[in-house]
């Protein structure tokens, strides 16, 4: 996938970002960066565009990440349209959802307006969505066929390609039963890649909610012990790539429909890259020990990217 060429300083910034990432791999063919919106106002949070390239290999696992998306408003539709456009070029097979999947009323017509219509091109193309539940979601969503939750509030699934297992948690009511399940599930997982996703962020620089420190105290020891490489969250209506914490990569992707402009604390020591002036979704690709990611705004432009190396088990 090739995009327009941009200024050299962006290349330098991108390189710095990647180097700062403790778990980042050396940029190989997975070097992906880019995207400023043409005609957009000057915005420090959006990196200027440059040439990018995703590996886009035939046997890699390709997936998208969205969060806090289901309000049925124009921004959600704009993002969904970009997802469909990207899918044409980068055929991701699944989408993981960070929760707040359906805001407000949850009548049958709301599922249509806030999910089935905006993502129709993807659903028609056979893309599978895997949801976690946010604080605004009714628990009955777990039975909804398109969310593939198998009637469960928390669950795990093996990805169709590569050696990857996803773990979806319900973080609004993190009862001990669920934590016990999570520990056992992690312990028994033999997959090389372990990826957790749920609604409330363990790390976030947003003013509105911020880091869920109590949840972090419960979950982080498990993530470390059982070699989880990547954690994806939402809740705060921003995009934020967190500097790796204890070797684990964290992202807040809570702006795929909702947006809380100006909510990120400037100069937060947690932030590796943030965007709080536009909506966002992510694309990820796992091939062997490398995960390449790009974050894309409402105009379909990449504004953040990098490579994450799979965590090795502690010796």
């Amino acid at each position: 996938m090739r995009f327009r060429r941009l200024s050299p300083w962006v290349l330098l910034c991108s390189l710095v970002v990647l180097v700062c990432c403790a778990s980042a791999a050396p940029a190989g063919p997975a070097t992906v960066v880019a995207g400023e919106r043409p005609g957009a106002p000057a915005d420090a949070a959006v990196a200027p565009a440059q040439e990018i390239q995703l590996p886009n290999k035939p046997d890699s696992l390709k997936f998208a990440v969205i969060g806090d998306n289901g309000d049925g408003e124009k921004r959600q539709y704009d993002v969904a349209k970009q997802m469909a456009a990207w899918h044409e070029r980068f055929p991701f097979e699944l989408v993981v959802m960070m929760g707040d999947n359906i805001y407000g009323s949850e009548r049958p017509q709301d599922f249509v307006k806030k999910f089935e219509t905006p993502y129709k091109p993807l659903l028609d193309a056979g893309v599978k969505f895997y949801a976690s539940l946010g604080n605004h979601d009714a628990r009955e969503q777990r039975y909804y066929k398109y969310y593939n939750m198998d009637g469960k509030l928390y669950y795990s699934f093996k990805a169709p390609k590569q050696d990857v297992r996803f773990f979806a948690l319900e973080s609004t009511y993190p009862e001990p039963d669920q934590i016990e399940w999570f520990q056992k599930e992690l312990e028994s997982s033999n997959e090389k890649w372990k990826i957790g996703f749920w609604h409330h962020p363990l790390y976030s620089s947003a003013r509105t909610h911020g880091s869920e420190t109590r949840l972090r105290a419960t979950l982080e020891p498990l993530l470390i012990k059982y070699n989880v490489t990547l954690v994806l969250n939402g809740h705060d209506h921003v995009y934020e790539r967190i500097k790796p914490q204890n070797g684990i990569a964290y992202f807040v992707v809570g702006s795929s429909g909702k947006l809380r402009e100006g909510d990120l604390r400037k100069g937060s020591p947690l932030t590796a890259k943030g965007l709080d002036t536009d909506n966002a979704f992510m694309l990820m690709e796992i091939d062997g020990d490398d995960l390449t990611f790009v974050a894309i705004n409402r105009d379909g432009k990449v504004f953040d990217s990098g490579v994450i190396k799979r965590r090795e088990p502690a010796k």
Binding site: S105, P108, E140, Y143, Y144, M149, G151, Y173, E175, T208
Partner: protein, 189 residues
């Protein structure tokens, strides 16, 4: 004579000790009885809920929105019919209401209180919506967030019930039937 005197002293001491032990126990957890009573009522509701839910077809794990909606409404009707005389305070007894109000006052008047209120009201708004026992949760109101401190402070509920806010009111929501089981009026100070 002396032994009778000694016996009297011992008995008196024992009685004094017993008399003072009971209030100490109450002081240790003065809300225990009210919480136990609340949970007993919750469990009775859940038993009814389960009994009635068994009489309608289970939701498939790959349900469409119509099936979810129909299931909710069918269960809601069964529960509402079975609890036709239900009224506010049936679960949140006055004692339990007092406990919950104190907790919420402590939390929402605490250092993080204003921020927590903003989170709760941000999407649902501080609308003047009067909850109704056995009434369907208002479709136009997004489900509120419930701060962890509130969840931690209130008695744990089985999955057939959950705490939510509608405006300033704390409600007990039956998420399977999408109905309000009980509520505390203007619980958020």
């Amino acid at each position: 004579m002396l032994s009778r005197l000694m016996l009297g002293v011992v008995l008196t001491a024992a009685m004094v000790a017993c008399a003072s032990a009971e209030p100490q126990k109450d002081r240790a957890n003065p809300d225990a009885a009210a919480i136990a009573d609340f949970l007993k009522r919750v469990n009775a509701y859940v038993d009814l809920h389960k009994k009635l839910e068994r009489t309608i077809p289970s939701l498939p794990k790959d349900a469409n929105p119509q099936q979810i909606d129909q299931h909710q409404r069918a269960l809601a009707k069964l529960i509402s019919d079975a609890r036709a005389n239900a009224k506010r305070g049936d679960l949140f007894t006055p004692d339990m209401e007092r406990i919950a109000r104190k907790l919420l006052t402590d939390i929402f008047r605490g250092p993080a209180g204003d921020q927590l209120k903003r989170e709760i009201f941000e999407e649902a708004g501080q609308r003047n919506i009067a909850p109704k026992v056995n009434g369907r949760y208002p479709d136009e109101v997004p489900l509120s967030t419930v701060p962890p401190d509130v969840l931690k402070g209130l008695p744990k509920l089985p999955e057939e019930l959950e705490y939510r806010f509608v405006g300033r009111n704390l409600i007990l929501l039956d998420p399977h039937a999408h109905i309000i089981t009980d509520y505390i009026d203007r619980a958020i100070p």
